[in-house]
């Protein structure tokens, strides 16, 4: 088996440079690549375009990269819950492209499936449609949306093996598998890295061919954004 293992987050992100486009998996703070985000902050790489469904919160997730002004542009579907983000956006320091969540996910998928465009009805007749080609299929209008073109995709999985095969856990799967397929170079951080043969081939969510570098992180914070519980009776 090809061994994709790298030592740590610093080694995994070593060649990300200023001005590049990176995809970051996760939904809210769930399933985000905590270790690589911390390494990017430490490396201080700037002028990044970040494709990620959300922008973290002020002191966690992509919010950490916003605080240090390392992000030039965010491509997201929902960016509430982050005061610093909103400040940078309203003051014009940060460029933002808001796109529908399904369009975001499917543009990742298209990249991973080798398809240049998708057609989706999401956003027809709204400001999202401005400047985009529209086509009518079977009496309904669809927008043409391009597959993403990202230099790096950075994802977080539950388990992985050194061949790059990934298994996700619960709803921390979210955007991670489709982004893993979409990067020119894909970096996976996992909670548990095992040897080839330890994961059942029938249970792999992302085949290792899509993953170029993999490492095991430790001490995941896994912060909860909205802790909701019910009382025990």
């Amino acid at each position: 088996m090809i061994n994709k293992r790298v030592a740590d987050a610093d080694e995994a992100i070593r060649d990300i440079i200023d001005g590049q486009t990176i995809m970051l998996g996760g939904f809210g703070l769930c399933g985000i690549p905590e270790k690589c985000i911390a390494a990017l902050v430490k490396k201080g790489v700037k002028e990044l375009t970040c494709i990620s469904n959300n922008a973290g919160v002020d002191d966690f997730g992509i919010g950490l990269l916003l605080k240090t002004r390392q992000v030039k542009k965010m491509v997201s579907s929902y960016v509430g819950e982050n005061a610093e983000f909103e400040r940078q956006l309203l003051s014009g320091e940060l460029e933002v492209e808001l796109i529908p969540q399904g369009t975001l996910a499917t543009r990742c998928m298209a990249a991973g499936y080798g398809m240049p465009v998708i057609y989706t009805p999401a956003g027809v007749g709204t400001e999202v449609a401005e400047g985009k080609e529209t086509r009518n299929f079977n009496g309904k209008d669809y927008l043409m949306e391009y597959a993403f073109d990202a230099d790096f995709a950075i994802v977080k999985a539950w388990k992985g093996d050194t061949a790059g095969n990934l298994v996700f856990r619960s709803t921390s799967r979210n955007f991670n598998p489709v982004m893993a397929m979409a990067g020119k170079i894909t970096i996976a951080e996992v909670e548990e890295l095992v040897e080839p043969g330890e994961l059942d081939p029938d249970h792999i969510h992302t085949p290792g061919v899509y993953v170029h570098r993999i490492f095991q992180g430790s001490g995941y914070e896994k912060r909860i954004e909205q802790r909701t519980v019910r009382p025990r009776n």
Binding site: Y78, L98, P100, G102, F175, P177, Q226, T228, R230
Partner: protein, 219 residues
């Protein structure tokens, strides 16, 4: 006049056995508390879950298990988990029977605005544009009038649109209304204690109302 829970209770009566349902954030989330007895519905959370269960017991929260509102939740026997592309695949291909979402404004031709207030609020559309563009059956849960007493059921939306000509039913604190294919709101039911005249005053879009409109049955 209904409170938020009342709106949710009335919408829950629209649920049918065997429905797959997507609930938006806010009032729509409350609908889950009023699913009628004897009816089986499966709740979809668009981050990638079918079969959303109740909130976990205290101490059993799992950071990896959240809904589209980022709340900690649980699964149920028969639940399934998938990625976000598949999640919107099942929305786009109309496998989801009913979508319930909130709105800032709805117009008499079925346009909806719920994602942006220019210069003021920039949060984004999340999955709302995908949902309204594809769902075959959408119910909007919203306030009929804003805090200043102005109608949010309008001839034309003033805010940036989420979707065009896609809404057919609205439930508010005052009424249940259909939006007619040819345009205009049609008053179907009024909330307990609310007069047809008050609903007329509170609706700035075109409203068709019989003199005698039945009161909502919330039981």
């Amino acid at each position: 006049m209904l409170d938020k829970n009342g709106i949710a209770r009335r919408i829950a009566k629209e649920l049918k056995d065997g429905y797959y349902v997507n609930l938006g954030i806010g009032i729509p989330t409350l609908v889950a508390n009023y699913i009628p007895d004897g009816i089986n519905v499966v709740l979809q959370s668009e981050n990638g879950l079918l079969g959303m269960g109740p909130f976990p017991f205290e101490g059993e929260e799992d950071a990896d298990m959240i809904n589209a509102g980022k709340q900690t939740i649980t699964t149920l026997p028969g639940s399934s988990i998938f990625d976000s592309a598949m999640s919107f695949g099942m929305i786009r291909s109309q496998k989801i029977d009913l979508t319930i979402l909130g709105a800032m404004e709805v117009s008499e031709n079925g346009d909806i605005a719920n994602w942006k207030i220019p210069g003021k609020m920039v949060k984004g559309m999340g999955g709302a544009m995908d949902l309204v563009a594809s769902a075959k059956n959408i119910i909007v849960a919203m306030q009929h009038i804003n805090k200043a007493g102005e109608s949010k059921l309008l001839p034309k939306c003033t805010l940036p649109l989420t979707g065009v000509n896609c809404i057919r039913k609205v439930v508010t604190e005052l009424a249940v209304l259909d939006i007619l294919p040819e345009g205009g709101f049609r008053l179907i039911e009024r909330a307990p204690g609310v007069s047809v005249d008050f609903i007329k005053q509170s609706t700035s879009g075109k409203l068709f109302a019989e003199a005698d409109v039945k009161e909502m049955d919330l039981n």
